[in-house]
Amino acid sequence: MNLLKSNDPAPSRLYYKINRLYYRLWFRLALMIVFLVVSIFLSKNFLYKDIDLNAEIRFLSEESSAIYKGLTELSITRILVKGAQESLKKEIIALVESSATEGFSALKAQALRAKIEDIKKVKKASVKFSTDGLVIVNVIERKEAVVFFNNDLYEVLDGNGVILSIKQNYEGLSSFPLLVGKDASKNINALLALVKEIGSYQSEVLYYEWVGERRWDIHMKSELVFKLPEDNLNKGLKVMRIFLGKTNKLSKTVVTVDLRNIDKPIIRFRKPPSVEYIGKNARRLAG
C-alpha cells in the first residue's frame, strides 16, 4: 500500500539499516573477511581453474634468462679491468672474450662474475655492462704472501692460505718467506705476524719450520736454528733478536739456540770451545 507520495527521496528502511551497520567496526571487519573469502574462492574455482600455478612458476624460473637474453643482448666494444696486475688483467680479458660468444645479459653478468671469481688470484669481482658495449670488471686481487714447500713443490699462498700458483723451483720467490712443516699452510697469519716481529733479520732467515703442529723453528742461512717456544713467542723472539744483535760473531760456532724453555735457553755449539776461549769471551757472553 502506498497512499502517500513524497518528492524528497528518503533512504529505504533496508538501505538505512545497512548504512547504520556500516558504521559498526565488527560489520566492516566481517565484510572484509567475506570479501576476501569470496575473492579467494572465485579466483581458485573460476579464474585460475585451468592454470597450474606451480608449472607456470617453474616455466618462468627456467626460461626467464632465455627470454631476457633476446631483449637485452649487447655487443662488446671494450673491456676494462680495474684493480688487477697485468698478468691477471690479461687472464680476465681472455675469459670475458671467450664468454662473449654466448652473448650478454644481466643474468649472464652474474655468471661471468662467478667465472672471474673462480680464478685463484681473484678475491672478489664485479661486472658491469654499459649500453655502449663497455664491460667494466672491478677486481680485488689476492696478494702473494708466503711460499710453502710441500711435496717437493713450491706453493705460493696468499694471506688466507689460498694457493695462487705452484712452482717446481724456488727461483723468483726469494722475496717471500719460505714455509715448511706439516699443516704449516694453516698458520699463515701467525707466520706473517712472526715475520713482522723478526724485522730486519728477516733477510738472514732461510726458512720457517712449523714443528709438531704447535711451534716454530727458524732456520738461518748461517745454519743456526732457533727453536722458539710454544707459548711465550714474543719473549723468545726478543731473546733471538738480542742473540743475533750481540753475538753475531759466535753464530758460526753455534748450531742451535733452544728457547723452548724460555727461562733456561740452551745453546749448542758445533765443537766444544776450549777453556781459553771461554775465559776469553766469558765477560762478553755474560753481557
Binding site: 524528497d8 533512504p11 547504520r20
Partner: protein
C-alpha cells in the same frame, strides 16, 4: 508522583549514558523542516547545580554533523503519518551520520506542540527555624500538587522557578538561608501523552533511542535570549511553520509557555488560495516579496505569478505588491492578536522587562520588527541564535534556534523537579533499585 519521578529519572539516566558515549544527535521535529545536529561532547567542565548537593558535570560540545530536510508526516508538531515522519527522520539521520562519520544511537528531541500547557503550581512546607537544606527543597517539591490526567497528558518540564522563605520571594538557591517556611513555585509544562508515544515509536522504528526531550519554545528562548533579558523578564515569540509559541522568562527561568496552532504555513496557504498557485510558488512569493508594512509604491509594483500549468499560450498573470500584503497582513494580525490575548492572560505586563524577542522561521518576514513593536506596543528585536562551535554559518538562522537551544540545554541542563530527592525515596531503596536496574540491563 512516584511514577513521574521514576519515568523522568530513567530518561535522565539515558541522557547521562548518551553523554558518556560522546556523540549524540539533536533533532528538531518541525512542521516545515526536520533538522538534525550531531554533537561531539568533547570535554567536561564543572557547572553549579544544587539538586545533587555537589558540583555536577556539564559538557562542552562541538557540532560535527548537520542536516535538514523537508518535514513530512508532521503537522502542528504532531506525527500524522508515521511512515512519512519515519522517512524524514531517516533522511536527516543518514545525512548527519555521513557528515559526522559515526553512528547515531541516542537522540535528543525538541518540538513545538499546539497542545502544550504551562501551569504555575506552588507548595510550601513548614519546619522549626533553621537553615534550609537540600532535603527541605526535595520535601517542598514533593508536596507539589500535580493536577494532571495521567493517561492523557505527559509532563515534559517541571521547573522550580522561585523559592520563598518566610514570605520573602526571589530566592534562586535557598540552601543555607534560615527560616521556618519554605515555598516553591514550579512551572509545569505538559503536552498530550499520545504525541510523545508516537514520537518515541517513530524513533524506535529508525533504530534510535530517545535520550532527552525538550519543548521548542523553552530551548528557543535559551538560544536566542540574552542573560540580562532573561533576568529582568522577556517574552520570546517563536514563529514556527504551523504553530507559534510564547515563552516568558524571568530571573533566567521559564515561567510561562503556551502556543497557538497558527504559523507561517497558514500565511503561505492563504497566498496559495488567494492567487491559485502552488504551495511552493506561494512560499517563494512570501519569502521574496512578502511584507507587512504598506508603502506608496506597492500599488505600482507588480509581481509576476509563476505559471502553474505548462500551457505556453495561457496569459501570464501579475499581481501588485499591495494585493500580496493584503493577503499576508490579516493572517499575521490574527497570529499576533492571539498571542496578545495569551500575553495579557499571562501577567507579562507586570514584569520589569517588557521586551519582545522574535525567533523562528516566521521572524524572517520583511518588516515584522516594525509591525510587532507597533502591534504589541513593546520594544522588539529579531533574535539570531548564539553561535556554537562547528555549526556552519548558513545554519545559524532563526529557524535553527530550537536545535541550537537543545544543544545548549544538553550542555548545561537546568534542575527540574525530578532532580531533587523526595523524602519518601530512601537511600537504601534507591541503592537496591539501582542494583536491580543494573542487573536487568546487563542480563
Amino acid at each position: 508522583m512516584r511514577k513521574l519521578l521514576q519515568s523522568q529519572r530513567q530518561l535522565r539516566q539515558k541522557r547521562f549514558a548518551a553523554i558518556k558515549k560522546g556523540t549524540v544527535a539533536l533533532i528538531d521535529l518541525g512542521s516545515s523542516k526536520v533538522m538534525c545536529l550531531v554533537v561531539s561532547l568533547t570535554g567536561i567542565n564543572q557547572i553549579n547545580s544544587f539538586s545533587t548537593g555537589k558540583s555536577d558535570r556539564g559538557v562542552t560540545f562541538r557540532v560535527i554533523g548537520a542536516s535538514t530536510t523537508k518535514s513530512r508526516g508532521i503537522r502542528d508538531g504532531e506525527i500524522y503519518e508515521m511512515r512519512e515522519a519515519e522517512s524524514a527522520i531517516r533522511t536527516v539521520i543518514q545525512r548527519a551520520q555521513k557528515m559526522a562519520g559515526c553512528l547515531i544511537e541516542n537522540v535528543f528531541l525538541t518540538f513545538s506542540s499546539g497542545t502544550q500547557k504551562s501551569t504555575l503550581i506552588s507548595s510550601s512546607i513548614e519546619f522549626i527555624q533553621r537553615e534550609v537544606t537540600e532535603l527541605d527543597i526535595g520535601h517542598a517539591l514533593s508536596k507539589v500538587n500535580l493536577v494532571y490526567d495521567d493517561l492523557k497528558r505527559e509532563i515534559i518540564h517541571a521547573l522550580p522557578v522561585n523559592f520563598s522563605i518566610d514570605n520573602k520571594h526571589g530566592y534562586m538557591d535557598p540552601r543555607g538561608i534560615s527560616g521556618s517556611k519554605l515555598s516553591v513555585d514550579v512551572n509545569i509544562v505538559s503536552i498530550q501523552s499520545d504525541i510523545i508515544k508516537n514520537m518515541v515509536s517513530c524513533l524506535n522504528k529508525c533504530d534510535l533511542s530517545l535520550a532527552g526531550l525538550a519543548l521548542a519554545p523553552y530551548v528557543s528562548g535559551q538560544s536566542s535570549l540574552l542573560e540580562d533579558e532573561m533576568q529582568i523578564g522577556v517574552v520570546c515569540i517563536d514563529l514556527g511553520a504551523s504553530s507559534s509559541s510564547i515563552s516568558i522568562f524571568f530571573r533566567k527561568n521559564l515561567i510561562f509557555s503556551e502556543s497557538i496552532r497558527i504559523g507561517g504555513q497558514h500565511i503561505t496557504s492563504d497566498i496559495m488560495q488567494a492567487f491559485q498557485i502552488s504551495f511552493l510558488a506561494a512560499e517563494r512569493l512570501k519569502v521574496l516579496h512578502g511584507g507587512l508594512m504598506p508603502a506608496n509604491s506597492d500599488d505600482r509594483e507588480t509581481i509576476e505569478l509563476p505559471d502553474n500549468n505548462t500551457d505556453l499560450y495561457a496569459d501570464r498573470r501579475a499581481i501588485t505588491k499591495s494585493e500580496l500584503l493584503g493577503v499576508i497582513r490579516p493572517r499575521v494580525e490574527e497570529i499576533f492578536d492571539s498571542l496578545k490575548t495569551i500575553l495579557d492572560s499571562s501577567d507579562f505586563e507586570f514584569l520589569p522587562g517588557q521586551k519582545v524577542v522574535l525567533t523562528g522561521g516566521g521572524s524572517k518576514l520583511a518588516n515584522i520588527l516594525d509591525f510587532t513593536s507597533i502591534f504589541l506596543g513593546k520594544p522588539t528585536r529579531v533574535a539570531v541564535p548564539m553561535r556554537i562551535q562547528g555549526l556552519p554559518a548558513s545554519a545559524h538562522g532563526p529557524e535553527a534556534a530550537a536545535a541550537i537551544g537543545l544543544a545548549l540545554n544538553l550542555a548545561q541542563p537546568q534542575d527540574e523537579l525530578w532532580d531533587f530527592k523526595a523524602p519518601f525515596e530512601h537511600e537504601g531503596d534507591e541503592l537496591i533499585r539501582r542494583t536491580w536496574r543494573w542487573v536487568k540491563s546487563n542480563w
